[in-house]
Amino acid sequence: MEQEIIQTEKVESKENFFLKRIQKYQVLTFTLSFLFLYRFIGTLVFYFAEKETFIENYGLSIGVFLIIIPVVYFLQWLIVIWVASKYTQESLKEKFYRHPIATIILFILYLTDLPYRLSGSDLGIGLFKMINAFEIIIYYASISFLWWMLICWISKKIWRKQKFEWPWYKKIVDKFFIFLPPIYKFILGLMVALLIFLLLFVLFVGVFHYSGNDIQKL
């Protein structure tokens, strides 16, 4: 009887693996889902409208694209969730406290290199420019975070005890942890809202055959 219960629990926990992760890391899942849908649907629309997409740039066929993009985004989600599961908010804060030099240097490098990353990419125009820039900022931040983790790990192996401890640095880290989540949510929400606005407007224009005569009268 006990074995049966354990087996059922194991099956349930396996079944709920993705569901649990989605529920636990809702903002991360939402971010990657939004970027995936934006990239996937956007590229399909551009492809069928016979405009230039990155499919032609990389010499891919539409079939390969249909498989690769979901797989790539799914793998990214798994990696991000795995990294996020390693820390709680408090343990991450402690890590930031412990490695001030690495944090400051990598943050400065991130900020100084970001404009070059953005200027080196074809961002498009208008709202698409905003979303593409957001995607680059997020990906570059994720990669920088992985580098930071590696540097912190090496630093911990070399210096067992914490060398520097600055009150002003702790205050900045605390402020970051207070203000960054709501700011991030607002920026993400703003972009999703603008995209929904645009899509709904295009949909309504198509459905009601709106020609813009009333606006021209003004």
Binding site: K185, A193, I196, L200, F204, F208, Y210, K217, L218
Partner: protein, 86 residues
């Protein structure tokens, strides 16, 4: 997640409201000049009255006004659903 839903919903609702106000302001200032601009800030367009007046005066149904109103209502539904279980 719910907070993002609320942000999305309210941005859609407020954005739609602003666009509707710009439409109302443009129409009033077009019809009555500077006095119309002041009146636009003082008066409220009303859900049905302003579109009917616009339709009668300009001879064109104000589709834009209702398109944006529809988007705003969708935003309000999203915000409502997101704050349901709070």
């Amino acid at each position: 997640m719910r907070s993002i839903g609320k942000i999305i919903g309210y941005i859609l609702w407020i954005g739609a409201g602003l666009l509707m106000f710009v439409f109302w302001l443009s129409a009033m200032s077009n019809w009555l000049g500077f006095f119309g601009t002041i009146l636009a800030f003082v008066l409220s367009p009303g859900l049905v009255i302003f579109p009917i007046i616009f339709w009668v005066v300009e001879g064109i149904f104000p589709t834009f006004y209702f398109l944006v109103l529809g988007i705003g209502i969708i935003g309000l539904i999203i915000a409502g659903l997101s704050s349901k279980d709070n």
